[in-house]
Amino acid sequence: MAQMNMIEAIRSAMDVVMDKDPNVIVLGQDVGYFGGVFRCTDGLLRKYGDHRVIDAPIAEGGIVGAAIGMGLNGLRPVAEIQFADYIYPGFDQVVSELARIRYRSCGEFWSPVTIRTPCGGGIRGGQTHSQSPEAIFTHVSGIKTVMPSNPYDAKGLLIASIESDDPIIFFEPKRIYNGPFDGDPEKPAVSWASHPKGEVPEGYYTVPIGKAEIVRPGDELTIVTYGTLVHVAAAAAEAVGVDAEVIDVRSLSPLDADTLIESVKKTGRCLIAHEATRFGGYGAELSATLQRECFYYLEAPIRRVGGWDTPYPHAFEWQYFPGKKRLAAGIRKVMETAA
C-alpha cells in the first residue's frame, strides 16, 4: 500500500473515479492548469484533458449552478469551492436547487454533484479562510455532509461521494492535509507517513457514507467529534489520562446515531467537540439526539467544546481553536461532575 497525505488521497480518489467513469468531470477555480491552490487536482488536466478538468470563473453560484446542469445531462461533476468560506455566494444553488431537484420532480430529475471544499482554521488564514460551516448544510434536507479526518477515509469517502446519486458537500479539514495535528501548534509538524490511516490503497475502494468510526475505544467517556478535532480529542484524552472512547462522526448527515448512542450508553458521559462556532453548531444536534436517546444512562451533562462564538481571528487562532487544553478542560468537567 502507498503512503499518502490527504491531498494525495483526495487527488487519487478523483483519479480513480475519472479513470473508471468518463462522465466524472472536475470544475472549479484554478483546478485545471494549476492543479488547485491546495494541489488536490494536480496532474488531472494533463491526464484527462480540458473537457474533463475545467478552470472556472470566480463565481461560486455559477460553478454550482453549471455543475447541476451538467449532472442533469448525465455527467457526474466534482466541483471545488476554493475555501468553504466562499461557498456562501453559491448557497442558493445548493439549498434551493441541488438539494431539492430530486424531491420536487419526484425522482425524474436529479444531479449527483459532489462539492469539495477545504474548511477549518489553523493555517493563519483569518476569518475568511478558516470557517467550518458544516452545521448550515446538515440542516438542509436533500444534501449529505461528509468530513473525513485522515487520508484513508478521505479517499474512500470521496469515491463514495462521487459515485453517490445524492448531492454531497465534502468538507476537507485543511489543517490536516499534510499530517495529523494534535492541537499543539508549537510541536514540529507530523506527516501522515507515521499514521496508520496514511496507508492508502492506490486503487478503488470506498468508505461507506453514514458510518461513524470508533477511532479509540474507551470506557469512561465518549468524545464525539470529526475533522481535525479527532486528533486533538485523542491527544487530550491521553493527556488527561481518561479512558475515553473517541468517535469520528465522518458522515454528519446522514448521521450514524446508533454507534454514538451505543457508546454513550456504555460510558455514561459525553463530550462533543468541533471547530465551528458553538452556538447553533452541529454539536447541538449531536447533544440533543444523544441526551434524548441516552438520558437514563448519562452520569453527567453532555458538554460541547467548540470555536468561540466570534469570527475566527487571524492572530489568535490558537486561542480560538478548541485545542488540547480546552478539550482537556472539557473532559475534566464531564468527568468531575458527580453522577
Binding site: 474533463r52 455559477g62 449552478g65 453549471a66 447541476i68 420536487r104 446522514p254
Partner: protein
C-alpha cells in the same frame, strides 16, 4: 443632466387612473431588420439587440428577411397550441377562483413565446423554463389531464403533492422542473449545454426568465459561463414589461434593451417581437443553428406584455392601468396569427370560433377526467407518507422513522 447627484427612481409611464403609454417602446416596422448569416461575429450583429425583429406587418402579411415561410398547416397547428394554452389558463384561473386549486399563473398575451420556441427547437434539446412557459410543456407532449392533476395535487400528480400548481416537470419531454426561486434554471441550462458539448452531442439547451428576474445573480452566472465556454445555449428574456408591481425599468430596462445584456461578454442579442410567432420562430431557429454549429450562446429578448395578473394572489389594478394590455402596440399573439392566416386565406373567424369551442370542450373533458383522480376536497387522496420519498436516492434512517411516526400519528395520535 442635473447639476447635483441625485437618486433616480424609475417610474412606469402609467399607473392606475393614467392613460396607458407605451411610447417608451422602440419599435421597428416588420421586415426592417436585416438577417445576418449564422456565422456572423457578435460585433457585426449588435444591431439585432436594438432593433425589433418582426415578420407580421400591419396588414398581417409576413414580410422581410426573417420570414420563416412556414406551411399554413404548421401555422394552424401553432395557432391551435396558442389557443389551447389560453383556454387552458382561463379555465384553470376560474377553477382557482372557485377555490378548487390553491394557486395559478397564466401566460395570457405571451403564448407565442412557448409555442414558437417549442416549434423551433428539436425534441432532444433541453428546456429550462420559467413558470409562465406552460405552453412548452403542452407543446412537448404533456397532456392536459396530467397538468390538471399536478395543479390538483391529486393521486395522479406528477409532483406527488409536493409542488405549487403550475410547477410541472417532464423528463420525457425534456422540460425541466420549475423552481420557486427565480432564475436558478439559467445556469442549469448553461451547464447542461456544456455537458452536451463535452459529450460531443449536438443537443442544445434553452432557458427562459422574465425581465424582472434578470437582476438575479444567476442571470449573470449563466451569461458569464455561457460566454466563457461558448456553450450551445439559447438564453431567453421574456420582457412582458412587468415583474409583480414593478415595471421593467426597475430591472434596469430603461436605458437599453435586455437583448443587449450579453454584448459586454460577446454574446449576441436579438430583440424580437414577442407577440409575433413567425418572428420568434425565425430568431430561435437562427440561434439554435448558431449554437449547434459551434457559434455559442445567443440572448433573445422577447418583447411582450403580461396580459393577466402576476398570479392568482395578485391584483394588478392596484399598480397599472386596467386597459394597458389593450393599448400594447404589439397586440395579442393569437389575434395577430389569426389575422395573418385569414388574410392569407388559410383561416376564418368561424373556424377560429369553432376551434375555440372545441378546445374549451377538450379542456372541460380533461378537467372532468382529472377530478376522478382526486380534488382538494374529495378523494381519492394521495398517501401523505409519500412526502418522505425522493428526498434522497439513499435516504438516512431518520426519514424512515419519521415516516413511521407520521403514519402512527395519523392513525392513533401516538408517538412523536
Amino acid at each position: 443632466m442635473a447639476n447635483k447627484s441625485r437618486l433616480h427612481i424609475p417610474k412606469p409611464t402609467a399607473r392606475p387612473g393614467d392613460e396607458p403609454d407605451f411610447s417608451y417602446l422602440d419599435l421597428s416596422p416588420a421586415g426592417s431588420v436585416d438577417k445576418p448569416p449564422v456565422a456572423s461575429r457578435t460585433r457585426d450583429i449588435e444591431y439585432l439587440s436594438s432593433g425589433l425583429v418582426r415578420v407580421l406587418d400591419e396588414e398581417h402579411h409576413a414580410v422581410g428577411p426573417w420570414n420563416p415561410t412556414l406551411d399554413p398547416s404548421a401555422l394552424q397547428v401553432a395557432m391551435r397550441w396558442m389557443m389551447l394554452n389560453r383556454v387552458f389558463d382561463q379555465r384553470m384561473w376560474q377553477i382557482q377562483r372557485q377555490g378548487r386549486i390553491s394557486f395559478y399563473m397564466e401566460a395570457a398575451g405571451e403564448e407565442a413565446v412557448s409555442i414558437a420556441q417549442g416549434m423551433a427547437l428539436r425534441p432532444g434539446d433541453m428546456c429550462f423554463p420559467s413558470y409562465r412557459n406552460q405552453g412548452l410543456y403542452m407543446y412537448r407532449g404533456m397532456n392536459l389531464v396530467d397538468m390538471m392533476c399536478q395543479c390538483l395535487s391529486n393521486t395522479r400528480d406528477m409532483c406527488k403533492g409536493r409542488q405549487l400548481p403550475i410547477m410541472y416537470h417532464s423528463k420525457e419531454g425534456n422540460v425541466f422542473s420549475i423552481s420557486g426561486n427565480l432564475a436558478t434554471q439559467y445556469p442549469h441550462a448553461v451547464g447542461w449545454a456544456m455537458a452536451s458539448a463535452i459529450k460531443g452531442e449536438d443537443h442544445i439547451a434553452a432557458s427562459w426568465v422574465g425581465d424582472g428576474s434578470t437582476a438575479e445573480a444567476d442571470f449573470h452566472h449563466a451569461l458569464t459561463f455561457a460566454a466563457v465556454y461558448q456553450a450551445p445555449v439559447i438564453l431567453n428574456v421574456v420582457n412582458n414589461q412587468w415583474a409583480i408591481s414593478t415595471f421593467q425599468g426597475t430591472a434596469g430596462g430603461e436605458r437599453r434593451a435586455f437583448a443587449a445584456r450579453g454584448l459586454g461578454l460577446g454574446i449576441p442579442g436579438i430583440r424580437v417581437d414577442g407577440n409575433d410567432l413567425l418572428a420568434i420562430y425565425a430568431v430561435t431557429v437562427w440561434a439554435a443553428d448558431r449554437a449547434r454549429r459551434g457559434g455559442g450562446p445567443t440572448l433573445i429578448e422577447l418583447v411582450t406584455y403580461r396580459g393577466g395578473a402576476h398570479s392568482t394572489s395578485d391584483d394588478p389594478t392596484k399598480y397599472r392601468p386596467k386597459d394597458e394590455w389593450a393599448a400594447f402596440p404589439l397586440g395579442d399573439p393569437i389575434e395577430r396569427l389569426k389575422n395573418h392566416l385569414i388574410v392569407e386565406g388559410h383561416w376564418s373567424e368561424d373556424k377560429h370560433e369553432a376551434l375555440n369551442e372545441e378546445l374549451k370542450a377538450e379542456v372541460m373533458a380533461a378537467w372532468k377526467e382529472a377530478q376522478q383522480y382526486g380534488t382538494m376536497t374529495e378523494g381519492p387522496f394521495l398517501d401523505p407518507s409519500t412526502m418522505f420519498d425522493d428526498v434522497y436516492a439513499e435516504p438516512p434512517k431518520r426519514l424512515e422513522s419519521q415516516r413511521r411516526r407520521m403514519l402512527d400519528l395519523e392513525k392513533n395520535g401516538g408517538g412523536i
